[in-house]
């Protein structure tokens, strides 16, 4: 027994020591440039303050950030912090969560601080400054603004077609899904297998990427989730429109021709695997998903199985209006919580980030390390981009990284010195293309995939940037349910009659789920926003 007691007390002692390490001090200062540290939540777990960029910021403003990582469900953690008042000094929150924090008086209103300490913020936002305001006249959060006049050079359409398919069809101009169907069909007839495995003319990643997003894209409309905006600024549920029926007909046609992936409703990983094997001829997949399997293709030497990113439409008269750029980057918004002492210090730092000097820091980095000035223009340093290719993690040691990069004024925007604010330029994008890609592009007389896109239109906001209206929340779930249940039946219909029945059924279900309520709620939200927008911009 004595022995056990000894062990217990040893263990207790050890743990007490461990627990004691957990406490940390916190001092802050109101002096204008005295060193001060603020806590900030982040979901990027590798983030540590102390990169070359961070140090430059601290040197200028005295402010350092102590990142508190969130490993797990961000929304849940934010709720817990809110319920207990434990939140960090600064956070980046979704518009919905910002609303929750605002209602709990957990956020410091910023308008007076910006007025006093934010000359650069005011300058950048210009006439859009009032856009930051909530209906109650307060500014609760701040975020980047898109001042660019041209498309980001790395933008690309999400319909993807294998290079080899285009090559064999002798690089035809294609605009419609029917044209795609025809070239897929003839290619598939000639090459039913690859490496002994069946080819898959058309596949899909998962759920919405199979039957929601492409529908809207093929109508040439901007990605607003389920919704579309008509010319009278009414929000409509988009997936029961005639163009949606046409898109589903396209999938159904593929299905009945045996050209649709047999596992079209399977899980995404499997789809990625098939792409990486070079078996998928075409599908709808955004670039961020495609990059891993495409790299795998290149690594296995299958460069001709990479994908052209070309916009496609349900019919050839479609006008492509899909490429829109919202004025602001509102989606993960920077807030200062009531736990922060001397919030003016933070605003001063944010203001610095919006200055030319700050923008160069958060977009380009530090001169001599990440970029150099050649012929009066900033260019990324070759040795840095090479290093970055080998080890992308150097952004965590050298920067720029973390939420400060959200405060950018956008790719393609110009600073006062007449040079680009960010290094995402046409040259840098082209430099990363391989020969196969350059060849395909040259056949179409283009330089980048972005060239296939129309000029971007600036819009006041995207629907998903607005706070979800209370009344639409429950309906949304039901719409999603109906969509998930009914659309597969439409796509897998064995005959035209069955297709029509399934379609009719789907429309009924959507109506029953409360489409009108959803549309009315969002129309109101959108028009309320527009009114504020117009008042602000006037």
């Amino acid at each position: 027994m004595k022995k056990a007691g000894l062990i217990v007390s040893c263990l207790v002692l050890m743990t007490a020591i461990l627990a004691a390490c957990g406490k940390s001090g916190d001092t802050s200062s109101g002096d204008s440039n005295a060193p001060v540290t603020y806590t900030m939540s982040t979901t990027d777990t590798k983030l540590k303050w102390g990169t070359a960029v961070d140090k430059a910021i601290t040197e200028k403003t005295g402010v350092s950030i102590d990142y508190t990582p969130i490993v797990g469900d961000e929304g849940q953690k934010n709720d817990l912090w809110l319920a207990s008042g434990d939140y960090p000094d600064m956070m980046t929150l979704s518009p919905n969560m910002t609303g929750k924090y605002r209602d709990a008086d957990a956020i410091v209103p910023l308008e007076d601080l910006i007025d006093k300490y934010g000359p650069n913020i005011k300058k950048r936002f210009g006439k859009y400054l009032d856009l930051l305001k909530d209906p109650d006249g307060h500014i609760y959060s701040i975020y980047g603004i898109n001042l660019a006049q041209e498309a980001p050079a790395n933008a690309a359409a999400s319909f993807i077609i294998q290079y080899d398919v285009l090559k064999e069809a002798d690089y035809p101009e294609i605009k419609t899904l029917d044209q795609l169907f025809d070239i897929l069909k003839s290619y598939y007839a000639k090459h039913p297998t690859i490496d002994g495995q069946p080819m898959i003319p058309f596949s899909g990643y998962w759920g919405g990427l199979t039957f929601t997003n492409p529908v809207i894209a093929a109508a040439g409309l901007p990605d607003q989730g389920f919704s579309i905006l008509d010319e009278n600024n009414n929000v409509r549920f988009g997936l029961t429109e005639p163009f949606a029926k046409e898109y589903y007909k396209f999938l159904n046609k593929l299905q009945n021709a045996g050209m649709l992936d047999k596992n079209i409703f399977g899980k995404g990983e499997e789809n990625l695997a098939k792409i990486a094997q070079g078996r998928v001829l075409a599908e709808f997949m955004p670039g961020w998903l495609l990059s891993t399997p495409e790299k795998s293709l290149v690594a296995s030497g299958l460069t001709e199985r990479q994908y052209a990113k070309i916009p496609l439409f349900v019919d050839e008269n479609t006008v492509d209006q899909s490429f829109v750029v919202p004025i602001t980057n509102s989606s993960s918004n920077w807030v200062i919580t009531s736990n922060a002492k001397h919030p003016e210090r933070i605003i001063k730092m944010i203001d610095y980030l919006f200055s030319d000097e700050g923008q160069v820091l958060i977009n380009w980095g530090v001169e001599g390390l990440q970029y150099e000035v050649k012929d009066g223009k900033r260019v990324q340093k070759q040795d840095y981009t090479d290093q970055l290719k080998k080890n992308p993690d150097i952004v965590y040691s050298d920067g720029p990284s973390g939420p400060i990069t959200n405060l950018t004024i956008g790719d393609g925007a110009l600073l006062d010195d007449g040079d680009y604010a960010t290094p995402n330029t046409k040259e840098s994008v082209i430099k990363n293309y391989d020969d196969a890609t350059k060849e395909v592009l040259s056949k179409y007389g283009k330089e980048t995939w972005a060239d296939f896109l129309p000029k971007p239109t600036h819009v006041p906001s995207m629907l998903w940037q607005l706070s979800e209206p209370e009344e639409s929340k429950a309906v949304f779930r039901k719409l999603e349910e109906a969509l998930n249940k009914e659309v597969p039946k439409i796509i897998l219909a064995k005959s035209d009659a069955e297709f029509e029945t399934a379609w009719g059924n789907f429309v009924d279900q959507i109506n029953k789920a409360g489409r009108e309520k959803y549309e009315a709620a969002w129309t109101k939200t959108w028009n309320d926003f527009l009114k504020r927008y117009n008042d602000a911009v006037k």
Partner: protein, 311 residues
């Protein structure tokens, strides 16, 4: 003591307390701990009657009476989801229960210590593999181009490969098998411990009587397992409604949704969709009440029929 109205009973109680002070030391602190960590948070149940928002807290959130319960029970989907939950729970309860006992008995009959240890270790490994990985393996095997389809085609059972996971009716069985595969080995541990604790004299005596293997199993091993088995059965009956949602979520797809959606997944969607805790808490209360009713009933039946009880 002067305060007491009935000195005799209180003295008796006091003497008893005094004589059992060691038992009190061994239990009261832990029960206090249990009460603190399990019962104090139950004030959270109040949220079910509110439109709770973490920012406002329990004091300032508006009260809505039984609205959240009404929302829950008025949704026709609720009952479909409840059916799926109960069916899948029931299936895995029966298969898991029988399977674990059977495996424990079979393992117990193995004489080669090395073989026995190896199999035992190997069978519990899937318990540690995350469901994401398991689901991936299962989906790969069952895909239209997967091993299972290829096998069925070769054997001539199928003419054309089928999307097995698209057949809603099969989902319940696939999910049950997957659960069995993952947890069978792990759940035998308790039974093996009980079997290891059986007095070897009993087996020796049976040997002397000329009893065969099955007779020994039937007359010694199984009866020794019974108390533990029944307790575990009662406990898991109480959890029949707490099925979790991980495997259903990972194996589910739009085509089998009507069979794969379970209560916990439904609640998750509900609180995501509406961004509220209150409906989730209401469902939690519903589940707690159902669980406790089941446990009390099953416990009563067990007590009457076998004399074994949980409490």
């Amino acid at each position: 003591m002067s305060l007491s109205t009935s000195p005799r009973t209180s003295t008796k109680l006091f003497t008893k307390l005094r004589s059992q002070y060691q038992l009190l030391i061994m239990s009261v602190p832990f029960v206090v701990l249990l009460i603190i960590f399990s019962y104090i948070p139950l004030w959270g149940w109040l949220m079910a009657f509110q439109k709770y928002s973490p920012g406002k807290g329990i004091w300032k959130s508006p009260w809505v009476g039984f609205d959240n319960f009404v929302t829950l029970f008025h949704d026709e989907r609720f009952f479909l989801v409840l059916r799926n939950t109960l069916v899948m729970s029931g299936l895995s309860l029966v298969t898991g229960f029988v399977g674990a006992i059977l495996l424990a008995l079979l393992l117990n009959e193995v004489r080669h210590s090395f073989f026995k240890r190896t199999i035992q270790t190997v069978t519990y490994i899937p318990h540690f593999v995350s469901m994401v990985v398991i689901a991936n393996i299962v989906l790969t095997f069952l895909a239209p181009e997967g091993i299972i389809n290829a096998l069925l085609l070769k054997l001539g059972i199928l003419n054309e490969s089928v999307f097995i996971m698209g057949k809603g009716e099969l989902f319940w069985f696939i999910n049950t098998l997957v659960g069995l595969w993952k947890e069978l080995g792990w759940s035998t541990i308790i039974y093996l411990a009980v079997l290891a604790g059986i007095n070897p004299d009993l087996y020796e005596a049976a040997d002397v009587d000329g009893a065969g293997r099955f007779q020994k199993m039937w007359n010694i091993s199984i009866p020794s397992l019974m108390p533990t088995a029944i307790i575990l059965l009662i406990l898991s009956m109480g959890n029949i409604i707490n099925i979790g949602y991980e495997s259903q979520f990972l194996l589910g797809n739009p085509l089998n949704l009507d069979y794969s959606e379970v209560l916990d997944l439904y609640a998750l969607n509900l609180s995501f969709g509406s961004g509220e805790y209150s409906v989730g808490v209401a469902l939690g209360i519903f589940k707690s009440i159902v669980s406790l009713l089941i446990v009390i009933t099953v416990n009563f039946i067990a007590k009457k029929s076998s004399g074994i009880r949980l409490f």
